[in-house]
């Protein structure tokens, strides 16, 4: 029951992020999305008695829910990002498009969900979150929201990993975290150079 609630909340935070037109709000919703994901990893890890998932759950809370949003806000102040980020897809179209994506992904993932043990809806929600993250990347012109779209996509894949497979090997999870940090370092350099050249 608790897992159902948090999976729903995970999707809800992503949907709200799609309608956000302010950068700090978007960072906040990404942080909430990661927070819910971390709680989900802890809950599922505890239910499966999977210590590796508990560790990755804590890492998600520390790195994704706190560390990365803090760094993004820091970059935003340091490099003077545009904070008014109006989505290219207006709200009245998004209201139609988002449910359509949800229905489509539930239909698309239907053959897969029969083959996976556990709650089939979790897989469908993970895949729809992936598509919604792609939409988040597509509907913005500025770089910062595109980065948040990419990070949300990582969250969706992490959710798929914990729901479809009951957790990936610890080494892989930690490797993904390392790559994510590397991505942040590279982004910092890209922003820095842009500032210098302008």
């Amino acid at each position: 029951m608790g897992v159902d609630f948090f999976i729903g909340l995970f999707l809800a935070t992503l949907i709200v992020a799609l309608f956000t037109s302010r950068l700090y709000r978007l960072i906040f919703w990404y942080s909430m999305n990661s927070l819910v994901l971390g709680i989900l990893a802890l809950m599922i890890g505890k239910a499966l008695d999977d210590k590796a998932m508990l560790v990755t759950g804590i890492a998600t809370l520390v790195i994704k829910a706190v560390g990365i949003p803090y760094m993004l806000k820091h970059f935003s102040e340091k490099f003077h990002f545009v904070r008014q980020i109006q989505p290219q897809i207006s709200a009245h179209y998004a209201i139609i498009l988002i449910p359509a994506i949800l229905v489509f992904t539930f239909y698309l993932s239907e053959p897969i969900t029969h083959m996976i043990e556990g709650n089939a809806n979790y897989i469908a929600i993970s895949i729809s979150s992936l598509f919604l993250s792609l939409l988040l990347m597509m509907e913005h012109r500025h770089v910062a929201p595109k980065i948040i779209g990419f990070l949300s996509m990582e969250n969706a894949l992490f959710l798929l990993g914990i729901t479809a497979t009951g957790g990936m090997p610890m080494l892989v999870e930690l490797g993904i975290f390392f790559d994510l940090l590397m991505a942040i370092v590279v982004m910092n350099l890209l922003f820095h150079k842009e500032e210098v050249s302008s």
Binding site: M115, I116, M153, E154, L157, I176, V186, L189, L190, K193
Partner: protein, 470 residues
């Protein structure tokens, strides 16, 4: 062995922070040092466990690693005189090497990985490190393309991870956490309880890998990035990074082959045919060397994938090796070819004086003709064997006529590319006015190295080795 493999890259990383003027020479030396443990690895019995079951050297990955390290040496040689052709600051030069070192670590991990997850981590590390290499060119176009690469590359790599998760989920009921291992997946492929799930995962991961190599629908993506960056970056992309991607495809497809060969073949055949169809016309319209070579790279990677799934593994590996040497050689020569302007194709092979100049234009001419598979190019033999494998496959198929028609259509598309390259070569050699162009020793040394590697690839012993890989 792992320490020996990674140590030169770590030294390169550390030296890149030094501001000493002689550090410029130490960086290429550390690049050459990468080759030494790989040569040692080449002689060790296979499979050789480098790090438990996670990193295992077999004949396939040692071959790919050897080729990549040779390409790395060539690129490093050409880098010595990069500042003679383009404006590059010492700081950008050092940073290039810093990320080149990280790139190598990622590459070694992904090529030697016997584990889907570790393969992905290595590939992601290599991808991220190349983003900054694009930015060493301080132009607005390079800034834009670096972001473009970061975002599209991230989507492609996420698709690969998505596919890996599904493949892992399909095999976890029988293999547990070991379901990430390539060797176990291959040996237990027929026992996977949900083959459809595996195939779905394979298809998604393959689309991610194909997008990363510039296949349909992202045909111009890589070409634009390579155009915007310095030419050694393009050489690294085509000669090394794509090797890390294609080795993943080789491994995944071998498992998918055990599950449902008809599905695998149909999917890859249609995808690569569609890619070559679009690329052939883009090549026909290409107006500069970088885009031309980049699009030609997409065509060749598509052919390698097609030969591999057709059962022509020898042809695919030969084609892969030849392409890995030829394409960086051509990319590195663009620094000289474009020294009188980006779009000056006519007369690009004229105006070379002295022994260095003469040798340069002869080598570039040979590379240009070799890339379109004129004999005795290794590509001539690989295409011969590759198409023979495809025809053999068509003969065994229930849809023989349709497949033969598709193969003929593919040959027509390849002849469009052939025609374009021959026309360009004639224009480069016989048209335009003769303007003096300067060739430097280091870039010539790189071209000579690639030419020698191609000759070695033609030896009967090399053919025998390639046949023994799969």
């Amino acid at each position: 062995m792992l320490i020996l493999l990674v140590l030169p890259a770590l030294v390169m990383f550390a030296v890149s922070f030094s501001h000493h003027r002689k550090a410029k020479f130490l960086l290429p030396i550390s690049s050459v040092a990468i080759l030494l443990p790989i040569v040692k690895l080449f002689w060790l019995p296979k499979p050789y466990a480098i790090w438990g079951n996670y990193l295992v050297a077999d004949r396939l990955d040692t071959y790919v690693l050897l080729i990549s390290s040779l390409v790395g040496i060539g690129v490093t040689l050409a880098l010595l005189t990069l500042d003679k052709h383009v404006k590059v600051s010492p700081k950008a030069y050092r940073r290039f090497y810093r990320f080149f070192a990280i790139f190598w670590v990622g590459l070694i991990i992904s090529i030697l990985a016997n584990h889907m997850g570790i393969y992905w981590i290595g590939l992601e590390l290599a991808t991220l490190s190349t983003v900054y290499m694009i930015k060493t060119n301080h132009t607005p176009a390079a800034h834009k393309e670096a972001w473009n690469y970061m975002i599209v590359g991230a989507i492609a790599i996420s698709l690969v991870l998505f596919g890996i998760i599904l493949m892992y989920a399909s095999a976890k009921p029988i293999l547990g956490e070991e379901a990430m291992r390539f060797d176990l997946l291959l040996s237990h492929a027929k026992e996977i309880p949900s083959p459809f799930l595996f195939e779905m995962g394979f298809a998604i991961a393959t689309v991610g890998m194909f997008v990363k190599m510039g296949f349909f629908p992202m045909n111009l993506w890589l070409a634009n990035i390579e155009r915007a960056s310095f030419y050694p970056v393009a050489a690294l992309f085509s000669g090394i990074l794509e090797s890390a991607v294609i080795i993943g495809f080789f491994r995944f497809s071998k498992i998918a082959e055990q599950i449902n060969y008809a599905h695998l073949y149909g999917f890859v055949f249609v995808y690569t045919l569609l890619t070559i169809f679009i690329v052939a016309f883009l090549i026909f319209r290409a107006k500069d060397f970088m885009r031309l070579f980049s699009l030609s790279g997409v065509e060749h990677m598509a052919l390698i994938a097609l030969f591999w799934v057709s059962g022509g593994t020898f042809a695919a590996l030969l084609h892969f090796g030849a392409h890995a040497f030829l394409k960086p050689a051509l990319f590195l020569s663009t620094g000289v070819l474009e020294s009188r302007g980006k779009y000056r194709i006519a007369g690009a092979l004229r105006g070379y004086k002295g022994k260095k100049g003469e040798l340069f234009w002869v080598l570039v001419s040979l590379f240009l003709l070799a890339i379109i598979s004129l004999p005795p190019s290794p590509m001539f033999f690989s295409e011969l064997y590759g198409f023979a494998a495809m025809v053999e496959m068509a003969k065994q198929s229930d849809h023989m006529l349709a497949m033969i028609a598709a193969i003929l259509f593919l040959l027509v598309l390849l002849s469009v590319i052939f025609y374009r390259f021959v026309t360009l070569y004639q224009s480069m050699k016989y048209e335009g006015k003769e303007e003096e162009k300067r060739v430097y020793g280091s870039e010539l040394a790189a071209l000579v190295l690639f030419a020698l590697c191609l000759l070695v690839l033609l030896l009967p012993s090399s053919f025998a080795y390639l046949r023994s890989i799969v």
